[in-house]
């Protein structure tokens, strides 16, 4: 069956608008994806008919809102195949999820211990660990990558020591598109008793994610990169960890009993959800995941792989193009530079022609340094993009290169 891209496009109101008087070509999906009408309506319906604070009132609306909020948690658990919905913590996003873990494991980390990350991490899966290491006088170790953007697995194996407290790795690189072999990494780390945190921000909307199969200890993602709303994210953590780690923030909802002298904390997941949660965000996320599920993540993967292959082939025809990130296993992201032309200039001219791409360092400055570039142009695809849009982009790119040469 052909991928129903025309039908899908009609579900996304924003795609029909014009930018600089040109039809919008939105190739900045790794930054954030657009939202289908179903998600927009779900959020709007919540505020029109269900809005109430959760887990607090025994009145009708509060009951409805609480039920729907908890159903969303169950849905997320099912979507990523978590053992229990208790292992799903709603956060503000991937960054928040990672910071939660970095803060709560802080007391495990002693001087001269180490935390391992990789050379392709987004700043959000780098800076929290770096700062934790500085604070605890521990060492941050970085697994190198090869020039195509593949992780050096042998180097990783050698880096793990009895003092390694955690390994943090991205599932898919936001710059290179590399899909890392998470299952293999987890296997290696677990042999040494090291827990693994996975940054899944770029993965959820593009490949199948099964935390049970991956066996990772923590998995983090943002709703807004998977057709859901901004400001909502998830931390999946194995209950064995979540139960023994301390709370992250303190306040309402996360408590059982409070006196002026002491507090007993609530059970997971509530222990980690201080304050009123983003109920509409959780419902929007549920709807977005349901949207992905209806189309089928494997169909999406196959379609986006075709788009990537097509764009890669077309772009190679342009003189002076160098693709940054040629991993064996990659998806949905095409980063490149063009000899003698600054990415900012190309991005500016592409924008004039209605093509939205990202230029710059993509919050991965050390990675840019490794590839010897000041930045790249990144096109990143979503399930609503088409080959025809790739053609528009390639034409616009040729025009821009022509103007700048």
């Amino acid at each position: 069956m052909a991928f129903p891209v025309t039908q899908i496009r009609s579900d996304f109101p924003i795609l029909s608008q014009k930018v600089n008087n040109k039809p919008l070509v939105y190739f900045d999906n790794a930054a954030t994806t657009q939202k289908p009408l179903a998600v927009i309506n779900r959020i709007s319906d919540y505020y029109k008919t269900e809005n109430s604070n959760v887990h607090r009132g025994n009145h009708y609306l509060s009951q409805i809102a609480s039920d729907h909020f908890e159903n969303a948690r169950k849905y997320v658990a099912g979507f990523i195949n978590a053992t229990s919905e208790k292992e799903i913590i709603f956060t503000k996003g991937t960054t928040d999820s990672i910071n939660l873990v970095a803060s709560t494991i802080a007391e495990w980390v002693k001087p001269n211990d180490n935390i391992i990350i990789t050379a392709m991490e987004h700043h959000s899966n780098l800076v929290p660990w770096q700062q934790l290491c500085i604070k605890q006088k521990a060492n941050l170790k970085v697994v190198p990558i090869d020039y195509d953007g593949n992780l050096d697995m042998d180097a990783m194996k050698k880096m793990i020591t009895p003092s390694t407290k955690l390994l943090a790795v991205t599932h898919i690189s936001n710059v290179l598109g590399t899909i890392n072999p998470i299952k293999e990494i987890v296997n290696i780390a677990h042999k040494h008793g090291v827990p693994v945190l996975v940054d899944g921000a770029q993965a959820l909307a593009h490949i199948s994610v099964d935390v049970n199969n991956l066996d990772c200890d923590f998995y983090t993602f943002s709703a807004h990169k998977a057709y859901g709303p901004m400001g909502m994210g998830v931390l999946y953590g194995k209950s064995v960890w979540l139960e023994q780690l301390p709370p992250y923030q303190y306040g309402g909802e996360m408590i059982k009993n409070v006196t002026f002298e002491k507090t007993t904390f609530n059970n997971i997941p509530y222990k980690y959800e201080a304050g009123t949660p983003d109920v509409a965000g959780a419902l929007g996320l549920e709807t977005a995941l349901n949207y992905i599920k209806k189309i089928g993540i494997n169909n999406i993967r196959e379609y986006e792989d075709q788009l990537l292959a097509y764009a890669t082939e077309k772009i190679t025809e342009i003189d002076g193009v160098r693709i940054v990130g040629k991993a064996k296993d990659k998806t949905a992201v095409l980063s490149f530079v063009i000899n003698g032309i600054h990415p900012y200039d190309l991005g500016t001219l592409l924008d004039q022609m209605g093509v939205a791409v990202r230029t710059g360092t993509h919050c991965a400055q050390p990675l840019m340094e490794y590839f010897g570039v000041s930045g790249t142009i990144r096109t990143s695809f979503g399930l609503y993009n088409t080959q025809q849009e790739v053609d528009v982009f390639i034409d616009a790119l040729k025009k821009a290169v022509n103007m700048l040469s």
């Binding site: 004039q352 000041s374 103007m403």
Partner: protein, 141 residues
């Protein structure tokens, strides 16, 4: 010419372009012209870092007027810099402090001055004003 008159001449110059391509081609042309800064000043001391493009700015005083020179690694940023320098350089500190940049708005380049573009231009303007203020304080003393 005053800052206002110079800004007016830039607006007049851009009025002839009726599509974006001509306008940007002109900016690119401006950006490609001779370096706008002495090579020896194109170093870390004078660097204003943006996430997207880098800008170098040098300022010196000449008879109570400030002479700005600058450069960027991105050619469109450099084109805009050349407009800013044309309008601001050679004026007194007080005039530079009071200057507004609505001329960039009028020629449709305001978006490049958005802080979120992180191209170094906003920081450059801030730096130009700071330099003018510092010089003004020094001469008032």
């Amino acid at each position: 010419m005053t800052i206002q008159e110079k800004a007016k001449s830039v607006i007049d110059e851009f009025a002839i372009f009726d599509d974006w391509m001509d306008k940007y081609s002109y900016l690119i042309e401006l950006g490609k012209e001779l370096p706008l800064i002495d090579e020896k000043h194109k170093n870390q001391t004078y660097l204003i870092s943006g996430c997207q493009s880098r800008v170098w700015l040098h300022a010196e005083e000449n008879n109570g007027k400030i002479i700005f020179t600058a450069d960027s690694d991105a050619v469109i940023t450099k084109g805009i810099i050349s407009l800013l320098i044309r309008v601001l350089s050679g004026s007194s500190p007080a005039k530079i402090i009071a200057a507004d940049f609505s001329f960039l708005d009028e020629i449709g380049l305001k978006a490049h001055l958005s802080p979120t573009r992180a191209n170094g231009l906003v920081s450059m303007i801030k730096q130009m004003k700071l330099y003018a203020r510092a010089l003004q304080l020094k001469s008032n003393r």
